[in-house]
Amino acid sequence: MIVRILGEGQFDIDDTATSELNRLDTELEAAVDRNDEAAFTAALHGLLDQVRALGSPLPVDTLEESDLILPPQDASMDEVRRMLTDEGLIPG
């Protein structure tokens, strides 16, 4: 499974890690829904740490599509909310 961290690159990660990633992702989403910035940041950083720890970076010259995409490390909750709703946020 290929996971991209925006602003950082792509990681190849074993499918067995999926359940842990999903758990953190659920927390992340719940935090966004509750409008809880602190919980959001904690969940996001937890997710990013997991991906970095368990995944191996893909070579830069690969052109593979990612299965999952994660917001950048310093993303605010508001930014992520717009990322989910507004396609215009991604230029090009």
């Binding site: 925006l6 690159g9 830069v60 010259d61 052109l63 999952l68 995409i69 396609e87 230029p91």
Partner: protein
């Protein structure tokens, strides 16, 4: 793409953030692909867009660097100001003016807090610059890979066979392009914010609220007061020196007659009260009453001949 959208809306709550973001990126790529009629055209068109984005991200790096340098310049100015204000506070204390020292230190605290703020901004800009630099290197590698693949696809496959491979390459690169495009956008936003703040600090410095001491501007009232105090203490010193000389010279003048003594006393008093009073009119001017000369003339005892006044310094030099 339509399916992806329905999926996003219908099951958003269960899908998780990671999948939803991925689908947004994919939808964007699909939308661009849908517009292309000839798949091979897609390759060339996409390659052009990639080169444009590469240029854009490099320009982004340069823009952020410019902003960072501006912040750096302001930090240097503020540091100089803080140093100068501390120096002024020290001088003011030395002259026994705690009020002035306090005012200088208050301004120093204000400059220092601006400086701390700028340090945070500087670090942020530095981080953005680094991110964009890495992003441009990554994009360059992917664009190179895309170009190679583009040629292979064009050379080896029929239009029909090529479609799938073209779609793969296109989706892969467009995800990267979306990522880089977002990085540029974020850097631009941050830079714009900082430029607004930098502009505000420039205005603040120009207004003198932060003490415009840097560059020796005339708006620096603390320095003015210190200069004035130092000047007036020079005047006091001169005065007491003169007084000492007059006292020492008094017996000489007494010998000459009582008239000389009565002449010296009002002169000294006048000098003490107004240290910056214009000098007494020269003999030639004294006979023509101009507006400037009048107050000085009135302050002098009417009986003194104007020609006696310039003689005084000569006496002093002789003693």
């Amino acid at each position: 793409m339509v399916a992806a959208k329905k999926l996003m809306k219908g099951t958003a709550a269960r899908m998780g953030v990671m999948k939803r973001v991925q689908l947004v990126f994919k939808a964007k790529a699909n939308k661009a692909l849908d517009k292309m009629e000839d798949p091979r055209e897609t390759l060339d068109y996409s390659y052009q867009r990639q080169l444009e984005l590469l240029t854009k991200v490099r320009r982004g790096v340069a823009d952020v660097a410019t902003s960072r340098k501006r912040v750096e310049l302001q930090m240097n100015q503020l540091q100089q100001q803080a140093n100068k204000l501390e120096d002024q506070a020290r001088k003011a204390l030395g002259m026994g003016r705690e009020d002035l020292a306090r005012a200088a230190l208050e301004r120093k605290a204000s400059a220092q807090s601006q400086l701390n703020d700028l340090q945070v901004q500087y670090a942020q800009l530095q981080a953005e610059e680094e991110k964009l630099t890495v992003a441009s290197q990554r994009l360059q590698a992917k664009v190179d890979a895309f170009r190679t693949r583009k040629e292979t696809i064009k050379a080896t496959y029929t239009a029909a066979e090529a479609q799938t491979r073209i779609n793969e390459a296109f989706t892969g690169i467009s995800e990267e392009m979306g990522d880089v495009g977002m990085a540029i956008q974020r850097a631009e936003d941050k830079t714009a914010q900082m430029q607004a703040r930098a502009g505000a600090i420039d205005e603040l410095m120009a207004s003198g609220a932060l003490d415009d001491a840097v560059g020796g501007s005339s708006r620096d009232d603390i320095q003015n007061e210190l200069d004035m105090m130092s000047a007036s203490s020079d005047v006091e010193r001169e005065l007491s020196r003169l007084k000492g000389e007059i006292t020492a010279g008094a017996p000489k003048q007494l010998e000459g007659g009582a008239n000389g003594n009565s002449q010296a006393a009002p002169q000294a008093q006048q000098g003490q009260g107004t240290p910056y009073a214009p000098p007494p009119p020269a003999p030639g001017q004294g006979t023509q009453p101009t507006q400037q000369a009048q107050p000085t003339q009135q302050a002098q005892p009417a009986g003194i001949p104007a020609s006696d006044l310039p003689a005084e310094p000569q006496d002093r030099e002789g003693s």
